[in-house]
């Protein structure tokens, strides 16, 4: 396993091509746009060595029996699934933001069990390749970015019907050494500070879309790969450590648009190539694993929001007001409800033919659906408790200005025994956690709400529920 410092040093050896604000970022590891996301991911490495957390963040490989970081593990019990959720909550409590590594973890698991199913039905040889790839990832402790979301162009058209064929990643060449792919992947969490990406199709496909049925792994710095880093709601606040809110770990996951311009992938890292009938199940496996996470990581972030809201109420002198206590209680209730969902879909996990364990997909989708609502309510309550000054605060430069700093200090004071700077810091943290980019991530990360509703309706047994009602109503129907 790597430590956080070793992980950071390993990134310096890569030749990752990253653009932001129209320019290529050189020495991206130390760039203030990127570094907080690297720090956040580094914690997934360091916590594996911390006696307080190693019971969650490490486990034994089912392939080698060796101790590995859990982010490289394929789940082999319901307990594994539960521990993953607990690990995510514990890490998020310390970062207060996304630490990015779960996407690749979920991709490894989804591709692992899909390749097994494909080989059984089609006689292909993908699963052995996937196991070899997993062995390499476990041995190297590399960070893998899960790469699913295509740009999608006209949402009313399938992949092969788009005006521009590159709006979904597709195979443009097959030869005896491997394949060449072209297209792009969007909203790529943690990709610029990963080592590898694991590409998957973005949706169910038809026979006409066979060239779009592709899953493969490649380095993030492979020739032809370019990353265009996404803007965030605080990305010009890099000159101090208060206005950023969370200067050490940043905000969301450092997402990027990843361009794949005729990128070669050798056959030993190709896990699907044309088997369109398995694209839908791969997407569903990945989506369910990823939706499982959200009551863990968002639960952990919400723990910080609850703490920050309770603290700011104290700084404002309002902590004892009954309505404040009631709002904090509601925030805790919503946080634990999210956590319940993640634990439940994990505890109800079941073995697949590959031996890997899969979550209960209905409960996983319900969990993520709740995140699209409850996080907004948790943040709304936090704004209510904190007060409007979290949106109107002057900058830290004004607070420390020799000319006007004393005014800022005087008029932004709360209770007498708390320094104004302390109140400033907590307000900025709340702004970071609850506004802008972080909020949207709760809505669309791991799929937009409608994607979960489709899965919820598909997984629920509506006929069974109707029969329950008819039975109680005394309705008998002739068959």
């Amino acid at each position: 396993m790597m430590t956080g410092a070793e992980y950071i040093e390993s990134l310096r050896k890569l030749n990752t091509k990253i653009y932001a604000f129209g320019k290529e970022l050189k020495d991206f590891v130390d760039n203030p746009m990127i570094r907080p996301h690297i720090n956040s991911a580094a914690l997934t490495y360091d916590m594996a060595f911390d006696p307080m957390f190693e019971d969650l963040v490490t486990t034994k490989s089912h392939l080698t029996g060796k101790k590995i970081n859990r982010f490289t593990h394929v789940h082999h019990s319901a307990e594994d699934l539960v521990k993953k959720v607990k690990m995510l909550r514990a890490i998020a409590q310390r970062t207060g933001t996304c630490f990015q590594r779960c996407v690749g973890h979920d991709a490894l698991n989804a591709v692992y069990l899909t390749t097994y199913d494909m080989d059984k039905k089609l006689g292909t040889q993908y699963h052995e390749r996937m196991k070899n790839y997993l062995l390499r990832i476990q041995a190297s402790d590399y960070m893998v970015a899960g790469a699913m979301t295509d740009p999608k162009g006209d949402r009313g058209l399938r992949a092969s019907k788009q005006a521009d064929p590159d709006l979904f990643v597709h195979v443009v060449e097959r030869n005896d050494k491997g394949i060449v792919i072209r297209g792009a992947k969007a909203h790529m969490t943690g990709i610029v500070n990963s080592h590898d990406m694991l590409i998957m199709p973005t949706t169910a496909l038809t026979a006409e879309d066979a060239d779009y049925a592709v899953s493969c792994a490649l380095p993030v710095d492979a020739p032809g790969v370019i990353h265009i880093f996404g803007r965030q709601s605080n990305d010009t606040r890099k000159n101090g450590n208060i206005d950023q809110g969370n200067a050490r770990y940043g905000i969301v996951g450092g997402e990027a648009l990843t361009i794949l311009e005729d990128v070669f992938v050798p056959w030993d890292k190709v896990f699907m190539c044309g088997e369109w009938e398995f694209a839908g199940s791969l997407v569903e496996f990945f989506a369910s694993y990823h939706r499982q996470n959200y009551g863990g990581c968002k639960g952990g972030v919400s723990d910080v929001i609850v703490g920050a809201s309770a603290a700011i109420a104290e700084y404002n002198g309002a902590a004892k007001a009954s309505h404040i206590r009631d709002k904090v209680t509601e925030m805790i209730h919503l946080t634990e409800t999210l956590y319940c969902g993640s634990l439940a879909c994990s505890a109800e996990g079941r073995p697949t033919p590959s031996g890997a364990y899969f979550v209960d997909p209905l409960l996983a989708n319900v969990t993520k659906q709740n995140v699209t609502r409850f996080i907004y309510e948790i943040c709304r309550l936090s704004h209510d408790i904190a007060g409007g000054f979290i949106a109107t605060l002057p900058s830290e430069d004004d607070l420390f200005s020799p000319e006007i700093g004393h005014y800022v200090d005087k008029y932004f004071k709360g209770v007498a025994n708390i320094p104004t700077e302390t109140r400033f810091r907590m307000a900025r943290l709340i702004e970071n956690l609850t506004a802008g980019t972080a909020l949207v991530e709760s809505m669309h990360g791991a799929g937009s709400p409608q994607a979960q509703r489709v899965m919820i309706m598909r997984q629920a047994n509506l006929e069974h529920k109707k029969n329950l009602a008819k039975n109680l109503a005394g309705i008998t129907e002739k068959k």
Binding site: P51, E54, D55, L56, V82, G296
Partner: protein, 102 residues
């Protein structure tokens, strides 16, 4: 100076903790003075202390080769200690810290 009691410690992971495990261990260090804390996977210790910070008690027990004590939140849930052994010092210190249980 060699320590009187070497304690291997294993924590649960503290995802939703009701107690602060490391703080408890620090308190034990102050109370027992001549005590050395090592990781649960260290080659040798006098007693293993397993600390679960919430009631689920989900800590993965390692192979138990010698004396051990398991605490769950503020309760001594289970232990295996021979009478008169050095490990008994730790059990007494936990009770003195106010932990309930056996």
């Amino acid at each position: 100076m060699t320590s009187e009691l070497k304690v291997g410690v294993k924590y649960c992971g503290h995802c939703n903790p009701h107690i602060n495990g490391p703080e408890l261990v620090q308190n034990l260090k102050q109370r027992l003075q001549n005590i050395e804390i090592v990781g649960w996977d260290s080659p040798a210790y006098d007693v293993l202390l397993m600390v679960s910070a919430c009631m689920s008690g989900c800590l993965n027990r390692p192979p138990l080769k010698g004396p051990w004590i398991e605490i769950v939140v503020n309760e001594i849930r289970e232990y295996q200690i021979t009478d008169g052994s050095k490990a008994g010092l730790l059990l007494k210190a936990l009770r003195d810290e106010g932990l309930a249980g056996k």
